[in-house]
Symmetry: D2
């Protein structure tokens, strides 16, 4: 059986060229850099990867390019949510062929659905997918999954973990209590870097964080510090990270992260979502990044 | 210049066959029936039409089939929201070719965006679309549009109206006050059948309602009664409609409407979203439908 | 049996003197003015009357003074919510003695309570109160009451009506449908002046509105116009009123209303809640008031 | 200067006799027990103490009785929110005389107020209070305080700390970052026992928790374990506590806590809020309490 999902995964941004098309060369260069800076894995077609703003063909291409470039060095989790179960299962099959470790399926969005429907949806996909499935709970954008729904889905052999992005520590603790007893190999990853250190201290397996596109070294260090029992140092980094994060999310997602990845030396290009005139303080961003890298 | 959008539009359901594919023949038969029962127009690829659960190619096919079948008898508004502005503009071009009267663009969803970004998004589409644009505000599912954003977008010649589905009467009155003065030809359609009669009485141009898939005759009658000054009769129908509506929305959208269209004689098939075991009381549904048709 | 509650009630502001104490003389003068300007009744100790910002003794004094001044000319509804059921019942007894027509009891606030508890609370009060009870549902501030809870409470002989301040037209229509059939004498008053005209057009008995402290003549006229079948004229007034209302609620409640009552010639004094530096545009307020009075 | 507020405080329940009046003898016995079981302090007239359901006189009596009984053994924080600033300041004066260490003032409730108004309110009280003030932020029930508002109020010498009951770990970390730098002696107490251990691990000074009425020994032990660097043991207790907590909050607050305090041997009596028929599983409650006491 494949390894447990754990550690810090980067939900990678997608560089675009001047025509707004995927910049494949830069995506490969960015992928290498993330691995070199310590990422335990990549999470492709996540929210930060703006999966909703690419066509189905583009989503496949992004997964293919990243899997090729990663070439087995670290596990790749590929977002595979498509228009309906049939299309999603076809994406699962494709991503297995590309070498992904698992797919991530976001809870249904647009319509706000009830728990039985959410469960039926994941259950159908899990039963038909030839590749392991990671649940993706992000209540800010998609139908919230209840503890009981997650617990029941965690009984399915194909469902190996969850990316839980509510950021709600009480929910996370209840989730750990619910799954650790009956399915200890189930992986619990948080999507909320604002509370990464306490989440790790309380027992989550790792995290998948937008800021890993900006300061992957720091995210990795926070993980290593907590695992090494050096909570005080981890807490200081956490507070510094919050200051950077709050700057990055002060503009429309994920434009702040795109701008910050440019600061780190990548040509991200203009995002696909037209935005109003955004005030991004690049100098302050640069200062915070440099400060946290030195900390 | 083309006629103003007004009256009752049906946001048509999409019949599916036993394999879950679009049942084109039944879609044509359903389209005819809606027109024969008095619909002033059709609204294709709306929320009730489950546009998010079809692929881009399927969305195009649905618009093509409906436009062909309508064949100019009534105006067709085609939902044209795609993954990004470029794809959306291409859909606009296609739907113009199919003979649609206008496209509808839903406010960005998944990410919850700010007003400047929402405005920039619609502005880019309006500037590049070769076909008239209807704004689609549905705060339950997509980024809410503010009054000021709508007012500013209503200044664009290409933006001819709005489908406003908040159901908030105070918001609607403020909207009417804001646009009637500066752009009297701008069309304001409500998406909230729960309050259709008071909305019409207060001055909206019409509505686009899921229940028009079930009792198009009744929706048309409510419109005609208010226009004819027979508010008391309209109010009685409104209260009866609420009872039916509450039954239809007691299950996941739009399964109740699909089941009710079956009661009216159409093979809608199983919806694309897997659901838990739903309790649909078809007998009560039939009784309420028959009752309101006789009222 | 006493008359049905109907028409426009003013939830009167409480004038304060320079020491922040109740200005009894001005309260009497204000009460007279409200009646002279056409109010069908007064609603004392409502939200606009800031009942939470007065002590139990002050609340009693306010009711006593208003009842004395009204002296039977119009019905007075007195807010009687106190710390617990026993205290509330004692206030009910007191207000009966003062000559109030009914008491209003707000749904429990601070703690957000479930429907069974809300029902139990009102039921205990209704069983022990010697004076008729009006339910007061204001979900923005207090535990929301469900339709079913209201419907069940409307079965109690002592419960003669509701002040429903959600402003949700769909909720109101369902409420009318629920109570009109089984308890036609139950009075349904809206608290939402933003939608007064459509609410009246759809069948509510009247309203209790903060703006009645500012333009009682206009609120009365809106009521009379709808009752007289002159919906078009009522709609114009409604839109004008919205513009004034939006100015009045642009600052902390009910400071805008207090400032506007000063424009009408009353010494309201400084409110009890310390506020930040508020921008109240008194000139614009005066202009809107004069405009709507002339309309 | 007095000691910093830190450790676990019990927001004590108020025992009632069969007539629904304060049972002073039992309140004294309960107070002693809480201190004997390790509480670092008491928090009187908190939400769990149902301060809104007592009259102003009763609130004073509760503080007097507890202060007398405590007799200086541990600090007492007394909830002093009254109808308006003047009354609140009078309560502050009274509670200073009773020997309270500080008062707690809840953010304004019922009306949802803006940040400037919230700040002005606390500022007026802090300027006039003769006793130290603890801010009380509980967004579920009262106007939410922003980080910036708290940071600015923390500059006032009279404002010595906050009870922060949002339970939002990200908010808490930002709060710690904001106040630790400029006002290190400012005390940050969490009200959310669901996340007590991670909060303590991240640097809060302590907590004020409803469950301290039920298992004060356990709450104290959780505190001591985190302070002693034994995070793993603390985490196990935290998960066990969650199971108990979820049972206690499955019914209307604070009835579950009252029932559980009865299990611990106190006559709490029937609460002041009439409730529907509640299902309290006392046997399961007893089992969970005994289990966590043995853990």
């Amino acid at each position: 059986m494949a390894d447990r999902i754990a550690g810090i995964f980067a939900p990678n941004l997608v560089p675009l060229d001047e025509r707004g098309e995927i910049d494949e060369a830069e995506l490969r260069r960015f992928t290498d850099w993330l691995i070199e800076r310590g990422m335990h894995g990549l999470f492709v077609n996540g929210s930060t990867g703006e999966f909703t703003r690419f066509t189905p063909e583009e989503r496949r291409r992004i997964v293919r390019v990243v899997c090729e470039e990663v070439n087995g060095r670290v596990p790749v989790i590929a977002g595979a949510s498509e228009a309906h179960v049939g299309e999603t299962v076809r994406a699962c099959e494709t991503y297995l062929g590309y070498g992904a470790r698992a797919v991530a399926i976001v809870s249904p969005y647009y319509f706000k659905l009830g728990q039985e429907t959410i469960e039926a949806y994941f259950r159908q996909i899990a039963e038909r997918s030839p590749i392991d499935v990671v649940l993706y709970n992000i209540p800010a954008f998609a139908s919230p999954m209840s503890l009981e729904t997650i617990r029941r889905l965690a009984e399915l052999p194909r469902v190996i973990g969850i990316k839980e992005s509510s950021g709600d520590m009480g929910f996370m603790l209840r989730l750990l209590a619910a799954v650790r007893r009956d399915r200890p190999e189930f992986s619990v990853m948080t999507g909320a870097e604002a509370v990464l250190v306490p989440m790790l201290a309380m027992g989550v397996d790792g995290g998948t964080h937008s800021t890993a596109n900006v300061v992957p070294e720091v995210m990795r260090k926070m993980y290593d510090l907590v695992r090494g029992g050096r909570l005080d140092e981890a807490r200081d980094l956490q507070l510094r990270l919050l200051e950077l994060l709050d700057l990055l999310i002060a503009v429309e997602r994920p434009e702040g992260f795109r701008a910050a990845a440019e600061v780190r030396g990548f040509r991200m290009g203009k995002g696909r979502q037209p935005t109003g005139a955004m005030q991004i303080d690049v100098d302050r961003m640069r200062g915070l990044i440099e400060g946290i890298l030195r900390a």
